[in-house]
Symmetry: C2
Subunit: 465 residues, 2 copies
């Protein structure tokens, strides 16, 4: 394909330089064309292209523009967006996808982590469960236009198997925690799991393995330092819960006289490979430090307010130029895995918090959901916008459903009107994985049946807790 | 039908009294049966019936129970809920449904009411627009499981025509405001419109006409008193925006030394026919007064926070026994018209506001969305729950979509996981208006096309503002 790509690139250069010969040039064949959409490119100028065309060859976007492009490119595989919104695939920067198996169990119980989640995980987590939950959750994400996730869970390699099977992109980080869990006695055992996973997936197109130390207070400093060194050695990401609860904040203040962010920095964790989930309890100087260390931030609004933890100053971080993306957290915390459902909350809550309806316009929220997420994972050069040369992760949102009519502003329609079901077509790495709302990569009836059978076991065990 | 009903009631009594002859009794025919659902009755005991059956004859629910009922009743028209959630139709206690024509226009512009909404309304509102917007918005509501709305708009009779055509129940209140509007020079002209509308619709099954004085500061006291007297004379409802902005609150304090609630009470407006929309800026003594006067309250969370107005103490009101339902506000304020989308916000925001994840369990939110809404409109004896003798407004929510699997708690699934698209079947007044997600009462392609054509005119005019 490299030769084919080279020829295409030369052709693009040729056409750009020779506008007069444009319509006369012979049509070039591409693997996939999307036409007749309103393209939200999310490029640096936030260009919107009415009646636009996206041309994809192999895994890459090779042209983006007006429908004049149809005179240049043709494809046996053309998707008519029917006036819909064509946007970059959304990036879910923090989740525990396998936890779909526990969704809606013990919601709102104050001590649910100790009373339900850890005991259930000790009894029920296996490679099978990690795979099954990730399979089901990946289907939900795929159908709602999430094309990349950052995940953290037990037996993460099995979750990665499922994510790859559905066809999503995943930064899959093996959970590392000092307590005994179903997948290992201590942190070291789980670091070994991470290393085996890295070995298995080191050259994968869709899956990036990584390290998922649970939280500053649930992994020893010595192990955190080892993780940081390994992430540097392999040049792989680290995702971690940080400053999620007031209790954690006060504990570190009490123990070290440091904020959780300062503590992590003091042991050398904060750098461009680090993705901090939550970051609710952070000070202004924490934010300055986070920016200086160039870490990514995952803003998990819905999960954070469902549990009454608080509101992250993510808008302030974004406005200061930090790398902020949106995340759902696990489906036992936020219950849904789609980013469209997050966007409305993110827009409205920051307005309420700032007592100003103008601080969080929809375009800024869509930015966080796409290129912001790509920045949070330090992959903005290849993901997060619809631009020539970027990887082909593209979503078409239909505008036929009653809630999407009329549209005077496509960003507004996405943030204030759309729900996950409006996503019609999803392309990841150039491959159509959802077409006209139907998943192309797995039989949903089968995955649902597997999940229902597993949930009967969960129900039985949860009654004993 | 009265004789038929009497026979059925006698039969129910007979069966209840003669359990032994139960299985031997000949099966009775009913107009419609829903089977194989998890029924959230929302009755006084919040009974949940697994694998339950709802039997409907004509406009009325005539039996609710386990699937044993299938031995007693049969119907040529049986809906298999396929394990889905069967719940009372949701009640949208405040909207301006015709404003769908303006949805997503000028969102977040600080002075949009004066700069866009009023000028647009002056130029564009007509009986045609009121009908078209209501038609489109009613379709959105129907498909999302809203079975009753409380509406307020200009040319309300035309909106009522559309609501009736789609088959929804509506408390349709003619907007009354002192300023000249497209439908009348002053408040008196609009009161006349209300009276003509009442005359036309006085015996309608689905439509209840009413009075919609705009707000305490936009209608003169003298006209408010007249409206109150007319509502008593006709025994018809009044819906009104109350205490929606801090500005309004401060204005009344400054002018009269009264809160908006106290002001309205001082002129005799507050009674069991009154439905207050928003009620954000209310004091504890206002709340006590609202309870004493037995008014209904419409809690419009999403619209209120989108505009950064504030958070109504609706949870406090509900816990004190006030009649609190949920509302979307108009689609230029809240952008969507479904109540499912409100529920997640209502659950989470009150938790965040109270710094306590236990204060707003999903069951309480579903209560507000159903029987709470019925109480807000003083119709809890005939609407808001699935009970024998109540009007047959019933919704089936499917549990096949990925976001609805698995389910350990149906209330939690509705509030934290569901979106409007999960509604599969909707019955209003015994009639199936949505079946397997397809509207039965209107051609959606036609209404969409009409709306798109109208929106082109709106777009052209909005550019001149």
């Amino acid at each position: 394909m490299n030769l084919k790509k080279l020829i295409l690139v030369l052709n693009i250069l040729f056409i750009d330089g020779c506008a007069l010969t444009h319509s006369a040039s012979k049509s070039m064949s591409a693997d996939l064309i999307i036409k007749n959409g309103t393209i939200l490119t999310m490029n640096a100028n936030k260009q919107v292209i009415a009646n636009g065309v996206v041309v994809i060859d192999d895994k890459t976007i090779i042209a983006v523009g007006s429908n004049d492009l149809l005179a240049t490119y043709s494809s046996l595989n053309t998707i008519d967006a029917e006036g819909g919104i064509v946007m970059p695939g959304m990036i879910n920067t923090h989740t525990h996808v396998s936890m779909t198996v526990f969704r809606s169990l013990a919601d709102d119980v104050p001590d649910r982590l100790q009373r339900y989640i850890f005991p259930l995980e000790n009894k029920m987590v296996s490679t099978e469960m990690s795979y099954l939950g990730a399979l089901h959750g990946s289907i939900e994400m795929a159908k709602s236009g999430v094309t990349t996730m950052v995940d953290m869970y037990l037996y993460e390699q099995s979750a990665a198997d499922a994510v790859k099977e559905i066809g999503l992109r995943g930064i899959m980080t093996q959970n590392i925690i000092k307590y005994p869990t179903a997948d290992g006695e201590n942190a070291k055992a789980k670091i070994d799991l991470a290393l085996a996973f890295i070995e298995a997936y080191k050259d994968d197109d869709l899956i990036t393995p990584g390290f998922g130390p649970h939280a500053p207070h649930t992994v020893n400093a010595e192990d955190l330092k080892l993780i940081s060194a390994l992430s540097e050695q392999y040049d792989l990401p680290v995702s971690m819960h940080v400053a999620e609860t007031e209790k954690e904040f006060l504990e570190f203040e009490d123990k070290y006289g440091l904020t959780p962010i300062e503590y992590l920095d003091s042991i050398g964790m904060l750098n461009e490979r680090f993705i901090a989930a939550h970051a609710i309890f952070v000070t202004d100087s924490d934010i300055a430090l986070m920016k200086e260390r160039d870490i990514g931030v995952s803003h998990n609004m819905v999960a954070n307010i469902k549990s009454a933890k608080g509101l992250s100053p993510a808008l302030q971080m974004h406005d200061l130029g930090l790398r902020v993306g949106l995340g759902t957290d696990g489906p036992m915390s936020g219950n849904t895995l789609d980013i469209i459902g997050q966007m409305g909350y993110v827009a409205k809550l920051h307005k309420l918090d700032n007592n100003d309806r103008t601080v969080m316009p929809p375009i800024k929220v869509v930015e966080m959901a796409t290129i912001g997420g790509a920045r949070a994972i330090h992959r903005e050069n290849e993901l997060g916008s619809i631009e020539t040369g970027k990887l082909a992760d593209v979503v078409v949102v239909e505008v036929q459903s009653a809630n999407m009519v009329p549209i005077y502003n496509p960003y507004s329609a996405l943030v204030y009107s759309a729900n996950a079901s409006n996503v019609a077509t999803v392309i990841v790495n150039g491959k159509v994985i959802v077409k006209n709302k139907v998943l192309q990569t797995y039989d949903e009836t089968k995955s649902r049946q597997m999940m229902i059978e597993f949930s009967d076991r969960v129900r039985a065990i949860s009654k004993t807790l």
